[in-house]
Amino acid sequence: MLDFDVIWRNLPFLMLQGFLGIGNFVGGTLRLAIPSIVLGFILGIFIGIARLSPQWWIRVPATMYVEFFRGVPLVMVIFWMWFIMPIVLKTAIPEFGVALTAFVIFEAAYLGEIVRAGIQSVPRGQVEAGTALGLTSAQGMRFVILPQALKNMIPSLVTQFIVLFKDTSLASIIGFMDLTKAAQVVNNREIRPFPIYLFIAVVYWVCTYSMSRYARYLEKRIGPA
């Protein structure tokens, strides 16, 4: 049962191919997670701002976007992208592109809510002070509100980044060679499910747990605003 030799034999494949994405296959948990987090956050900022727009034709679609994606499973969104992207773009899309698009679109809905809450946590007087100084509303958002809002959001943002990091495992469903898929491949060859799946659970755990420790440290250092 506890034959950990199997891990040692397959360590290069699991970690280099599965975790980092260096190898013959297009894959890598980190290679998917990092751009997903960055792009999802950027889209999330725009959605969070749009949710608070005074113009209804910006606010209503943004609200519908958030409510829609928060009511649908991520697996569904991945399948949607898998089928719809080739039809719309009229060409074959690699798994990486499909997974990245699905994660960015899906997570932006959740990140948008965090950004909205963060913006709302900045006192109104700050907006008025910005306007009084002669800033346009875009400048006020960019230089006054967002920097303060971002500080307030850090704990919930990191929590959501952890969720996104774990969610990247679902890219293996459409055949992306991430850590989970690499474990499946190794298990099909070796038939040692217990040590293999326990090992990747620990790898995921080390990443997510250190992220959550870092969030707690940031929370303490910055303190509630």
Binding site: S169, L170, Y197, L198, Y204, W205
Partner: protein, 240 residues
């Protein structure tokens, strides 16, 4: 590629039956996993707030380990890695009675239990400490204080975040398709495989999930209003 819509695939052939059976399996899986998750969440969430450190450490280990690993990994773990460790009799029984369903219940229930636990812990911690001290002072044991004073209040406070977690559980049940549980997403894929009409099939599945989520959210906000304790500051502050 030119895509031709043909919505009739959803009501011709066996599509309707598949969607219905998928919906039923999703609900069965979610309810079973929810019961397990709530039980584990209440026990471990309460244990994380007690003074006896070995109990607290065990509960912390459970929460931090199971919550921080992807659900998909747990699905594979419970489906492939756990059954061979069980005695032969239990293995035979499980293989005869839908192993993948029970593996999915364990994976989803134990994973969500760790998340419920965090919700309950924050609920308990938002109750003033004096409540526990008052109950102990009036002669209750710690267990009785939790059972009759702390938990009834905490469970009401956590209805909004608890509903959120329950909806997450429902949506996460779609991951069970990876170990071939024939739930809603699995059946949606099946319609796509048989009819090659991906957009129609996915629309049907997506709408069912949306309707489920919206109705549960509506139901729970009614429950929240019904069970609110009048004049309770903590309860009032939670509502928006």
């Amino acid at each position: 590629m030119n895509y031709k819509f043909n919505w009739s695939v959803l009501w011709t052939g066996e599509s309707g039956q598949w969607l219905l059976s998928g919906l039923i399996t999703t609900l069965e899986l979610s309810v079973a996993a929810w019961l397990l998750a709530v039980a584990l969440g209440i026990i471990s969430g309460a244990l994380r707030t007690v003074r006896v450190w070995p109990l607290r450490a065990a509960a912390t280990f459970y929460v931090e380990f199971f919550r921080n690993v992807p659900l998909l990994v747990w699905m594979f773990f419970w489906y492939f890695a756990v059954p061979p460790l069980l005695p032969q009799g239990i293995q035979d029984f499980l293989f005869a009675h839908g192993l993948e369903f029970w593996a999915a219940v364990c994976a989803l229930g134990v994973y969500s239990g760790a998340r419920f636990s965090e919700v309950l812990r924050s609920g308990i911690q938002s109750i003033p400490k004096t409540q526990l001290e008052a109950s102990v002072a009036s002669g209750l044991t710690t267990f009785q204080a939790y059972r009759y004073v702390i938990l009834p209040v905490a469970l009401r406070i956590i209805i909004p975040p608890g509903t959120n977690e329950s909806l997450n559980l429902l949506k996460n049940s779609s991951v069970a398709l990876t170990i071939s549980v024939a739930e809603l997403t699995f059946q949606t894929r099946q319609i796509e495989t048989y009819t090659a009409k991906a957009i129609e099939a996915l629309t049907a599945g997506t709408l069912i999930y949306l309707v489920l989520c919206v109705s549960i959210a509506t139901l729970m906000s009614w429950v929240e209003r019904r069970t609110a304790i009048p004049g309770l500051i903590v309860g009032g502050r939670q509502r928006r």
